[in-house]
Each structure stands twice: as structure tokens, then as C-alpha cells.
């Protein structure tokens, strides 16, 4: 088992919480992890990414090589396109359709989706809407994790345990919202896989 995952988003959108849950679950499963993240200047509203590698054998590089990512998980549609050169031929793209517009010349979302579709068969997730249904927009990153869960190589139950472990300190209500959000994403993803 070896998975190369690129998490993409904009500084401040919380991709590191997604990484933390996967890390926790991978460690729990006894896997080897390398997870490179971006700190510093770009965290101020710039494009940020995290290279996450999990494996049952020794890993060397902290960075993923071009053409070898099994999954691009993006919490922002434009950002999902930025890392396409890293995607493996059989790789998956799971992206939120909620744009984060903080630059001039941000293209219309339809054009982004079109560009994405012309390269891959993406799983599009209305993350904010599902998160709101789960109880808080702030849980949209857990919706995204749920939607991407089937491609991570880690059982959803273990990821849920990770959510429990990481959000536990914030109280039972926060945990519940995030688990609900995770399940909404997962359900969407499973439904999509059976229909396509």
C-alpha cells in the first residue's frame, strides 16, 4: 500500500486539519508517513499545498514526484488545477466547487470545471452546502475528507476515529458536526462511484 496525496487550497482554509486527520489514522494503522506542508509567507491568503505520502514500506522523499499522485484533494476549485502535473495517469481529483476569490481575474467556476473535466473525471463536491447541512460551514474540510476517503487507502472508520481524536478537545458537539460532515462527503462519494 502506498498513496501519494496532494492537499490543495488557499492559506487559512484548513487543509492542515485534513492532513492531521489522515496522519493520525495512518499512524494508527502502523503506516509510514511523510507530510510536507507550507508555513510562512504563503499562509497569508496565498496558494498552499501539502504533499502527504503514506506507505507500508520506507519512504524517502517528502515531496511527491510529477505524475505519481494518487489523489488531489482540493478544498478550492481553481487550486485543484494547479497541481495536475503531479497527478498519476490513474489518479483521482476530488474538489470543492466553492471558489475562494481573493485575486483579480479569477475565472468563472464553469470554466474551471470545464478545464478540469477535459483533463480528468473529477468528483465535484458542494462542500459548503453539505457542511451547512451537517451543522456548520466550518466543517467543509471534513466534507472534503469524507468525499476523498475512498481514495486514501485508509478505512473510513479509522479516519472518523482521527476526527474524534483531533476535535475531541473542542467538545462533543464539534466532534458530532465534523463526523456528520465527513459522512455526508463519504455518502456523496460512494453514490458517485456506483453511478459512474
Amino acid at each position: 500500500m502506498e498513496k501519494n496525496i496532494i492537499l490543495a487550497g488557499v492559506g487559512g482554509q484548513g487543509i492542515l486539519s485534513i492532513a492531521a486527520v489522515i496522519d493520525w489514522a495512518a499512524l494508527d494503522a502502523g503506516l509510514v508517513i511523510r507530510q510536507a506542508e507550507v508555513h510562512g509567507m504563503s499562509q497569508r491568503g496565498g496558494a498552499v499545498q501539502s504533499h502527504l505520502r503514506i506507505s507500508d514500506r520506507e519512504l524517502f522523499a517528502d515531496l511527491i514526484a510529477h505524475g505519481t499522485a494518487d489523489l488531489i484533494l482540493s478544498v478550492e476549485p481553481l487550486e485543484s488545477l494547479r497541481y495536475l502535473p503531479w497527478l498519476a495517469p490513474e489518479g483521482h481529483v476530488v474538489t470543492s466547487t466553492d471558489p475562494f476569490v481573493n485575486v483579480q481575474g479569477y475565472p468563472p467556476v464553469e470554466r474551471i470545471i470545464k478545464a478540469l473535466r477535459s483533463a480528468v473525471n473529477p468528483l465535484l463536491v458542494p462542500a459548503e452546502q453539505l457542511a451547512r447541512e451537517a451543522g456548520s460551514v466550518r466543517a467543509s474540510n471534513m466534507v472534503m475528507l469524507g468525499a476523498a476517503a475512498p481514495f486514501t487507502g485508509i478505512e473510513p472508520e479509522r479516519l472518523e476515529a482521527g476526527i474524534q481524536a483531533l476535535f475531541g478537545a473542542k467538545g462533543a458537539q464539534i466532534v458530532d458536526i465534523n463526523i456528520r460532515a465527513f459522512r455526508k462527503g463519504l455518502t456523496l462519494s460512494n453514490a458517485n462511484q456506483t453511478t459512474s
Binding site: V10, G11, D23, W24, L27, D28, G30, V32, I33, R34, Q35, A36, E37, V38, H39, G40, M41, S42, Q43, R44, G45, G46, A47, H51, L59, F60, A61, D62, L63, A65, H66, G67, T68, L78, E79, L81, R82, L84, P85, W86, L87, P89, N102, V103, G105, Y106, P107, R111, I112, A115, S118, A119, V120
Partner: protein, 536 residues
């Protein structure tokens, strides 16, 4: 859950390793990608219980000297900084190689190839060679952790400071790290050794000769270091892989089924015996370094060697960080077919937060500057450097910490009017005060705007050594006249008065200081969250 392994950033592995290796203190000034070392120690319950001192220093030089003092007193000390911080600490650092140490002194320095958050990509290994001290360059988080024990032992055995060098990728990447039994702190044990520590020429000459005589021993120690090892292989091509260059070589080898011999080097001076062996066994040697081609250049020599490949002959790019792809192509592998980035993808540069006081400050500065014939604004390093980007385009320089004030002074001396500069509170404490004293002594007509957001925001909100009323007291003490020591609140509703204050001070023919004071919204929000959590 496997509790024996911690999931740590490289920087945190350095911190945990240092705590477990028995440090009595860490001294540091923040700087990406080194900041997390000290932050981790500040959060560590173990460090707190064992009384490890860990608050931020005013700058890297004061940090380094304090660490040297702690080592003088017989205890183990850690000092951390980013690569450019070592320029600031260089005087202390280079001379500490001449004095040597008593307790172990380890300098953890984090370089930033590709300049993700820096002004340059200088390679700290050059400083290691310059000072002639051992440098360790581990290639994984676990090695970083283990290397801290080794670094302190080495430092105490050869009585020299030891550098642990890492780069952005390792510092900011997490992996599982297993811990060892911890070492007790050294007892207080200061020795009178003026012949080593009083660097008057007669002592310094003796000490310097001693340092030179130590060099062969350092090389021998590298030959048996756990950080240096050969990986079996075959074929005419061999690789010498330094630091995390090793990771990319091993990854490329596995991906493309390449069987070349590899020599991993993680302790300097490089192990001569192993290097000789590799050169003897191979027709061609690729040198992979995460940083400058420091050793490639050395191996090539002035007259060059047709056998050597690397950054200097184009086999690898001359600048920027290494990647598996770059190494694979240098090893002759065909690159994978990949999907291109669609044209509609635009850049998304960083920006000042919505609601940040720096925004309102720049709006006021820009308004007054538009009235001037010359509108240069000398700036410094911090979040406010983002004022260089649109929509503000408000600043015109950013060179090194403190340079805002002194460059404005020099330009004023040359006749530029107005000579305006912007500097953050943390940067002012770091290197601004001495420059302001120069300006006061010369009565140079400059206006210094201190952007006081009560924190070191750019690096994540560390305590600032001088903010709030302390800034007024410092400026007064340095001789700034009371009438030209002003403060403004950078908020929309104060825009008109702020413009008026700046206009007056820009027109003043002497040193004026305007403190633009409003708390960073990030730290304010964090404080609020923390007190809310406590209230529950």
C-alpha cells in the same frame, strides 16, 4: 495507537531531540523555516518541568551569544535561526569557533532553497566551512532527532559549536519519530579559561592554530558517523548525496529501477575515505546538494574534473530546491508524461489579511506620498512587506532586517526628501534601534513609521521584544524629540487625522517617529479563542 512514535515536523524533531539530549536553554529569533523548533520547546511540558529557558531573543546575535554564555557555564544550549539570521549572528558564531565551548552548543539553522519565505537561498554549510566546525545535515525527521544527541556529544568532545543544518522541506514535513531515553542536564560548571575566551591576538592565534589542528580529527569523526553511509550499487555512475538530496536519489532510484552506488553524506567535513572509494569505483559522479554546489565546486577544483556532474554543468539546475524529478532526469530517467496546468490558472500571491491595521497605515502613507515629488518608501521585513504588492504598491525596498531606517538615513544624507521608512515592532527591536541612534546623532531628516501590531506576525505571532509603550521609551531614550514622537491608530475612522500627522512629520527637517499602533487581528482573534476556551 502506537504511542511510542510521535508525528513530528523536522523542526519539532530537532526540538524534541534537544530536550531529550538535556538542553538547559534554547535561544532564538523567529524565522521561517526554523520558528517551530523554539515554539515546540515553549509548548513542551517536559521542557517546562525541567526548567528549560525558551523565550524569544531580540535577534539572532543576542540569541547566539546567550547560548554561548550558557555553554560557557557548562550547560547544553541550543540556538535556532533561519539562514539569513546567521548573517546577523555571524560575528559571534565565527568567533565562538575560536574560543570553543565548555557545555555543548548546537546551532540549528534552517535554510530556504527556492526562497519560499526568504530574501535569498544562501547555504549555511558555507558558514560551517568558514568557521571550520562540524556540520550535521540529517536526511529524515528520525535522523534529525537522533542527530541532536550526537551533536551535543560531538560538541562536548571536540569542544566546538556544532551546526545542525536543515532545509525547508525537512523542517516543514512530518513523519513518525521514535524517542530515546533522555539525558540529564549538565550541572553548572563554569571554568576560568581566559586563554581561550579572551580573544586578544596572543590567545586567538593559539586558539586558531588549535582549530586548524583539529580538522583532520573532524574528518576522521565523519568517517565513522551514523549520518554518512554507502548504499551498495553497480554501474559506472555513482552519486554523492548530501542531506535530503539523499532522499530524492533513493526515491528516483526506486522509481526508475536505477542501481547506481550512492554515498550518503550527513556529517561534514565530508568523509574523505568514503569519497575516495566512490570516486575510485565510478567513471562518473553526480553530486546532489540541497543548496549551493558547495562540495561539487570543491571536488571539481579550479581546473575542473570531467568526471563530476551536478549543478555546475547543468545536470541539475544551479538554483532552487531539489526534487525527485530533477534527480531522476540527472540520472538519465525519462520523465513521466504529465498533465499540464491549464492556462486559466492564475497566480495567487499572499496578501495582507482583511482588517489588518497595516492596510490602513498604507492607505494613509500612500495618500500623503501622492502629494510629494519623490515618493520612495524604505521598508523592512514583516507582514507589512506585503504592502509592496497591489493594491498598495506602497513600499520600494526590503533588503534585510533594520535596513529601512538606515537606508532612509543614507538617502536623506544624499538629499532625498522626504525620506520615509516603515519598520515593524519586532524588526525595530531586532535591528532598528541602532540605526535610529545613528539618525538622531546626525540629525538626519527621516520619518520612521513603526508598524506596531504588538507581535511578530509574519512568522506566526511570536512575542515581540519591544512593542507598546516600550517603543516610546526606547525612542525617547535614543534621543527622538518628544514633539516628533507621535502615535496614530491605523483605522478607517482615523484616516484623516493619520494623514495630517504623517504630512506634518514628513515635512519636519529632523528625525521623527510615528508609531502606527493597532493589534494584529490574528493574534487578537487567537487571544479571544484562548480566553473563551478558558472561560468554559
Amino acid at each position: 495507537m502506537n504511542s511510542s512514535r510521535l508525528l513530528l515536523l523536522g523542526a519539532e524533531a530537532v526540538a524534541q531531540g534537544a530536550i531529550d539530549a538535556g538542553i538547559s536553554g534554547v535561544y532564538a529569533y523567529p524565522g521561517t523555516p526554523s520558528t517551530e523548533i523554539t515554539e515546540y520547546i515553549q509548548r513542551s511540558a517536559l521542557a517546562r518541568e525541567s526548567g528549560v529557558r525558551s523565550s524569544w531573543s531580540a535577534n539572532e546575535k543576542t540569541a547566539y551569544e546567550a547560548a554561548l554564555g550558557m555553554a560557557y557555564a557548562g550547560k547544553r544550549s541550543l540556538v535556532c535561526m533561519k539562514h539569513v539570521g546567521l548573517n546577523v549572528a555571524a560575528d559571534a558564531f565565527i568567533n565562538s569557533a575560536i574560543t570553543g565551548v565548555n557545555g555543548g552548543l548546537v546551532l540549528a539553522v534552517a535554510d530556504d532553497p527556492s526562497m519560499h519565505s526568504s530574501q535569498n537561498e544562501q547555504d549555511s554549510r558555507v558558514y560551517g566551512r568558514f568557521a571550520m566546525v562540524p556540520v550535521l545535515e540529517p536526511s529524515s525527521q528520525q535522523e534529525l532527532y537522533d542527530a541532536m544527541f550526537h551533536a551535543f556529544e560531538l560538541s562536548e568532545s571536540v569542544k566546538l559549536p556544532v551546526i545542525v543544518r536543515m532545509t525547508t522541506r525537512l523542517s516543514h514535513s512530518r513523519a513518525g519519530v521514535g524517542r530515546r531515553d533522555s539525558v540529564a542536564q549538565n550541572p553548572l560548571h563554569a571554568e576560568y579559561a581566559p586563554e581561550r575566551f579572551v580573544l586578544m591576538p596572543h590567545n586567538a592565534r593559539v586558539q586558531y592554530r588549535h582549530l586548524l589542528e583539529l580538522q583532520p580529527k573532524l574528518e576522521t569523526l565523519s568517517e565513522s558517523s551514523f549520518l554518512n553511509r554507502a548504499v551498495e550499487g553497480s554501474g559506472p555512475l555513482g552519486v554523492i548525496a548530501f542531506g535530503i538530496g539523499f532522499n530524492y536519489v533513493m526515491e528516483a532510484r526506486r522509481m526508475h529501477g536505477i542501481e547506481c552506488r550512492v554515498l550518503k553524506v550527513g556529517q561534514y567535513p565530508p568523509p574523505r575515505r568514503q569519497i575516495d572509494e566512490l570516486f575510485a569505483a565510478c567513471d562518473e559522479v553526480l553530486v546532489v546538494e540541497e543548496g549551493y554546489p558547495v562540495y561539487e565546486e570543491l571536488f571539481r577544483g579550479y581546473f575542473g574534473s570531467p568526471k563530476i556532474r551536478g549543478r555546475m554543468d547543468g545536470a541539475l539546475p544551479r538554483d532552487g530546491e531539489m526534487t525527485t524529478d530533477l534527480v531522476a532526469s540527472a540520472l538519465g530517467a525519462t520523465p513521466a508524461e504529465t498533465t499540464a496546468v491549464p492556462e486559466i490558472v492564475i497566480n495567487r500571491p499572499p496578501e495582507l489579511c482583511r482588517g489588518c491595521g497595516h492596510r490602513d497605515m498604507f492607505e494613509a502613507i500612500n495618500t500623503v506620498m501622492r502629494e510629494q515629488a519623490e515618493h520612495h518608501v524604505f521598508s523592512d521585513i514583516g507582514c507589512y512587506t506585503l504592502g509592496a504588492l497591489s493594491p498598495f504598491s506602497a513600499i520600494h525596498t526590503c533588503v534585510d532586517m533594520g535596513a529601512a531606517i538606515t537606508m532612509a538615513k543614507g538617502a536623506a544624507d544624499a538629499g532625498l526628501r522626504p525620506a520615509v521608512c516603515v519598520i515593524g515592532d519586532s524588526t525595530f527591536a531586532h535591528s532598528g534601534m541602532t540605526g535610529l541612534l545613528d539618525a538622531v546623532n546626525d540629525r538626519s531628516p527621516i520619518t520612521v513609521i513603526i508598524a506596531d501590531n504588538d507581535t511578530t506576525a509574519m512568522t506566526g505571532g511570536q512575542c515581540s521584544s519591544a512593542s507598546g509603550s516600550k517603543l516610546e521609551r526606547i525612542c525617547r531614550g535614543l534621543g527622538v524629540e518628544e514633539a516628533h514622537l507621535r502615535s496614530i491608530t491605523p483605522l478607517k475612522q482615523h484616516l484623516d487625522e493619520n494623514i495630517a500627522v504623517l504630512r506634518e512629520e514628513f515635512a519636519y527637517d529632523g528625525v521623527s517617529v510615528v508609531i502606527a499602533r493597532r493589534e494584529c487581528i490574528e493574534t487578537a482573534a487567537r487571544k479571544k479563542r484562548r480566553s473563551a476556551a478558558k472561560g468554559e
